[in-house]
C-alpha cells in the first residue's frame, strides 16, 4: 500500500512521448531504446531523440537486447538490429510471417521463431533451423554454452543449435508461454496459459509448480546474485527463492502490494532493488531486504486506456531506468 510518507522520485523522471505501444525498452550504452507498436525504434541520448523506422508499416511484436543492439521482431516478418547510432541491419526476413518470439545473448547470438519454426543465428551469422512440436511461444538462451530453451504446448525443448542431436524434452501438459533460464543454468522456468509458472531443475528434471496468480505472468526478472526470480501477474511482485534447493515447497516473497496487478518487473543490475510497473501506470522501486518502496511514477486515475506499464529497463550501472506503457507514454528515471 502506498503510504502517505512514500518517498517520491517523480521529480527525477524525464517523460517522453513514445506515441505507440511500447513493446520493450533497452539501454545501448548511454542510449535508451524503445521498441514501438508503430514499427519504430525511439532512441534517446541526453536531450536528443531520434526515430528509426525499423519495421516500416509494421509493429514491433517482440524485442530483446544484449547491450549493443536492440533486436526487434515485427509483424512484417523481419528481425532487425538497431544500434545506438541509429544504423539498422536486417538479420532475417520470414516473408511476412509474424515473429512470435525473439531472444539474444550478450555476445550477439540471436534466436527467433515464426510458428513452429525456430532459427538460431550465432555470433558469426550462421543460422540453423529446427521445427518445434507446436508453436514456439518463448525462447531463452542458456547463460553458458550455445543452447536454446524453446517453450511450446506441453513443455520445453532444449536445443543445441550447432549439433544434430535431438532436443531434450522437458514435458509438462499445457501451453507454455515465456521461458527463462536461471543465471547459474540449473533451472528453466516457464509461464503458462493457466496463470502459473512451471519450472524444472535440470540436474534431476524435477518439476516445480508455482501457482496462485490471478493473471498470466508475462514478465520475469532475475536478481544480480541469481538467487531471486521476480514475476508479474499478481497484485504484488511475487519473488521466488532460487538458491540451491530451488522454490520447491517454499513460499515466495510478496512485495509492492497494491490494488493493481504488476505488469512488468526489472531487477537492479547490482543491488537487491526491484522496479515494478503496474497495470494502472504506477511504477515503484522496492528494496527486497526490507520491502521499502520509492515512487517513480504515479498511478493514472480512472478509466483511461493504455495505462499498463509494458516495458522497464535499467542501464548497466543501474543509475537510470527506462519505462514505457501500452498507450505510448514513456520516460527515464535518473537516480539522484
Amino acid at each position: 500500500m502506498a503510504a502517505p510518507t512514500l518517498t517520491s522520485l517523480t521529480d527525477h523522471v524525464a517523460p517522453l512521448a513514445a506515441g505507440a505501444h511500447v513493446t520493450a525498452a533497452a539501454w545501448l550504452g548511454d542510449t535508451a531504446a524503445f521498441a514501438l507498436g508503430d514499427g519504430a525504434v525511439l532512441l534517446v541520448n541526453g536531450g536528443g531523440e531520434s526515430r528509426v523506422a525499423a519495421h516500416p508499416d509494421g509493429a514491433v511484436l517482440v524485442a530483446a537486447s544484449g547491450g549493443e543492439r536492440l533486436l526487434t521482431g515485427g509483424d512484417d516478418g523481419r528481425v532487425v538490429a538497431t544500434r545506438a547510432d541509429g544504423t539498422i541491419q536486417t538479420l532475417a526476413d520470414e516473408k511476412g510471417r509474424w515473429i512470435d518470439a525473439l531472444t539474444t545473448t550478450k555476445t550477439g547470438a540471436v534466436a527467433w521463431s515464426t510458428g513452429k519454426r525456430v532459427t538460431a543465428r550465432d555470433e558469426k551469422g550462421r543460422t540453423r533451423g529446427y521445427e518445434a512440436p507446436s508453436t514456439a511461444q518463448g525462447l531463452a538462451f542458456a547463460p553458458k554454452g550455445y543452447r536454446l530453451a524453446v517453450a511450446h504446448y506441453n513443455g520445453v525443448s532444449l536445443w543445441f543449435p550447432n549439433t544434430d542431436a535431438r532436443p531434450e524434452d522437458l514435458a509438462w501438459k499445457g501451453s507454455h508461454l515465456d521461458v527463462t533460464w536461471s543465471p547459474d543454468g540449473s533451472f528453466v522456468v516457464t509461464s503458462m496459459q493457466e496463470n502459473a509458472l512451471h519450472g524444472w531443475r535440470l540436474a534431476d528434471k524435477k518439476d516445480m509448480r508455482m501457482s496462485g496468480y490471478p493473471a498470466k505472468t508475462r514478465s520475469f526478472a532475475w536478481s544480480a546474485d541469481g538467487v531471486w526470480l521476480a514475476t508479474s501477474g499478481a497484485d504484488a511482485v511475487i519473488v521466488w527463492p532460487f538458491d540451491k534447493e530451488g522454490p520447491m515447497g517454499r513460499a515466495p516473497r510478496e512485495c509492492g502490494v497494491r490494488h493493481a496487478k504488476v505488469s512488468r518487473v526489472a531487477f537492479h543490475p547490482n543491488a537487491l532493488v526491484l522496479a515494478a510497473g503496474y497495470e494502472d501506470g504506477c511504477i515503484l522501486l522496492i528494496r527486497l531486504t526490507d520491502a521499502s518502496e520509492l515512487l517513480v511514477r504515479r498511478a493514472i486515475e480512472g478509466g483511461e486506456k493504455g495505462r499498463p506499464i509494458t516495458a522497464l529497463a535499467w542501464d548497466k550501472p543501474g543509475r537510470r531506468l527506462a519505462f514505457g506503457s501500452e498507450g505510448g507514454a514513456a520516460g527515464i528515471l535518473t537516480l539522484p
Binding site: H21, D75, S134, Q137, Y153, G174, A215
Partner: protein, 342 residues
C-alpha cells in the same frame, strides 16, 4: 465495455462461399478497417486491411474441463494486434472449412487478456444451398457450424429450385431454429446483417423465439402487430419440419418464476455433465423476488450470466431456456428444469 474490439467468426464448409463473403465485407464502402485472421492467404484482395495467417492450433486448458479447448494461435495473434491498436476497427476470424467453431468462441471467454480487449460479436456460417443437405449427412463439421451459428448465410440459392431451397431451410431449422438466416446469391448480404450483431451480449438477449417466426431476411418487416390470437401463416410460410436425429434444439418454458437456489446448481451441473454435447445455450429467467431478468448464454461448459433490465410492467414473468446440442435427453432436461420452478 463498448471500446472492446468486436470479433466476427466466419465459418462454413469448403466451397460454401466464405471467401466471397469476406471479400464482399472488405471491399464494400463502409470506411471501416479490419484485421482479418485467415488460415491460408487466399484470394483476398485488400489494400487497407491487415491480414494475418493463423495455424488453427487448438489446445486444451488444464482446468479440468474436457471440452474447454481454445485457439492458442488466436490468443497470440490478438496480443500482437493490440500492439497496433487504433489501426483497425474490428477483427474477422476466418476458420477452415473443417473447423469446429467452439474453440474459437471459447477463446474469447476463457482467456482473460483476450476478453479484456475484444468481444465476440457473432458466429457467421456460410452454407451452400445445393450441397448443405448432403454435408449434414456426411460431415459432422458442417452440422457443428450450423448448430453454432448466430447468423447463417444460405448461399448459392440461384443453383437450387424453390423446393430444394425449402428443403435445405427445413434441415437448417431442424438443427438451429434461432440463428438469423439470409438467403443469398454470391454471398450478397447487407454487411450490417453480418457484423455488429452483438450476439453474445447479455443485454441483447431479449427473447428466445425461433428466428423463423420473425421476419428473417424478407425485408418487409412487420406491417401489423400480431395479437395473441393471430394465427395466420405468413411467418413460417410452408417451412418443412424435419427432425435431425443427431443434433437438436431443446426449448423449455416455465410460465412463472424459478428458484435460483435450485436453478443455478442444476444448470451448472447440467453443462458440466453434458457440456461436450451442448454446443450453445441461452436463457431468460424470472428469479423469485428478483425484479430484474436473469440472462445467460453459454458455449459448451462455459456459462456467462447476469441480471439485466427489469421485467417490464405488463410483461409476463416467465422463464425460458434453449439448448442446441447433440443427442440431448430432452425429457431429463425438461424434468430437471421443471423441478426448479419456484
Amino acid at each position: 465495455m463498448s471500446d472492446k474490439i468486436p470479433v466476427t467468426v466466419l465459418t462454413g464448409y469448403l466451397g460454401a462461399g466464405k471467401t466471397t463473403l469476406l471479400n464482399r465485407i472488405l471491399t464494400e464502402p463502409h470506411g471501416r478497417k479490419f484485421a482479418v485472421i485467415v488460415n491460408e492467404f487466399g484470394e483476398i484482395g485488400i489494400d487497407n486491411d491487415l491480414v494475418v495467417g493463423a495455424d488453427e492450433e487448438v489446445f486444451e486448458m488444464n482446468n479440468g474441463c474436457i471440452c474447454c479447448t481454445v485457439r492458442g494461435d488466436l490468443i497470440r495473434i490478438i496480443e500482437g494486434l493490440m500492439k497496433r491498436k487504433g489501426r483497425f476497427d474490428a477483427i474477422i476470424v476466418e476458420t477452415t472449412g473443417l473447423a469446429d467453431p467452439a474453440p474459437v468462441a471459447q477463446t474469447f471467454f476463457v482467456d482473460q487478456d483476450v476478453s479484456e480487449k475484444t468481444k465476440l460479436d457473432a458466429v457467421v456460417t456460410v452454407a451452400d444451398a445445393k450441397w448443405l443437405t448432403q454435408r449434414l449427412k456426411d460431415a459432422p463439421e458442417a452440422k457443428n457450424q450450423i448448430a453454432f451459428a448466430d447468423v447463417i448465410v444460405l448461399n448459392k440459392t440461384d443453383l437450387v429450385t424453390a423446393d430444394e431451397l425449402t428443403e435445405v431451410e427445413g434441415r437448417i431449422r431442424a438443427i438451429n431454429p434461432y440463428a438469423r438466416l439470409h438467403k443469398t446469391e454470391r454471398a450478397a448480404v447487407a454487411i450490417d446483417e453480418v457484423l455488429g450483431r452483438n450476439a453474445f451480449d447479455l443485454d441483447r438477449i431479449l427473447d428466445l423465439e425461433p428466428a423463423f417466426l420473425e421476419d428473417d431476411d424478407h425485408h418487409h418487416g412487420h406491417d401489423h402487430d400480431c395479437g395473441p390470437g393471430c394465427n395466420h401463416a405468413h411467418h413460417d410460410g410452408g417451412l418443412k419440419h424435419y427432425h435431425d436425429e443427431d443434433m437438436q434444439s431443446v426449448a423449455l418454458t416455465i410460465a412463472g418464476d424459478v428458484d435460483p437456489e435450485k436453478f443455478l446448481p442444476w444448470v451448472n451441473d447440467l453443462v458440466q455433465r453434458e457440456g461436450p454435447n451442448i454446443l450453445r445455450s441461452k436463457g431468460i429467467l424470472a428469479f423469485k423476488n428478483e425484479p430484474k431478468r436473469f440472462v445467460f448464454q453459454g458455449v459448451h461448459m462455459i456459462l456467462d450470466g447476469d441480471l439485466q433490465g427489469d421485467w417490464k410492467a405488463g410483461e409476463p414473468r416467465q422463464s425460458k431456456l434453449v439448448f442446441i446440442g447433440r443427442n440431448l435427453d430432452e425429457t431429463a432436461i425438461r424434468d430437471g428444469f421443471l423441478a426448479c420452478a419456484a
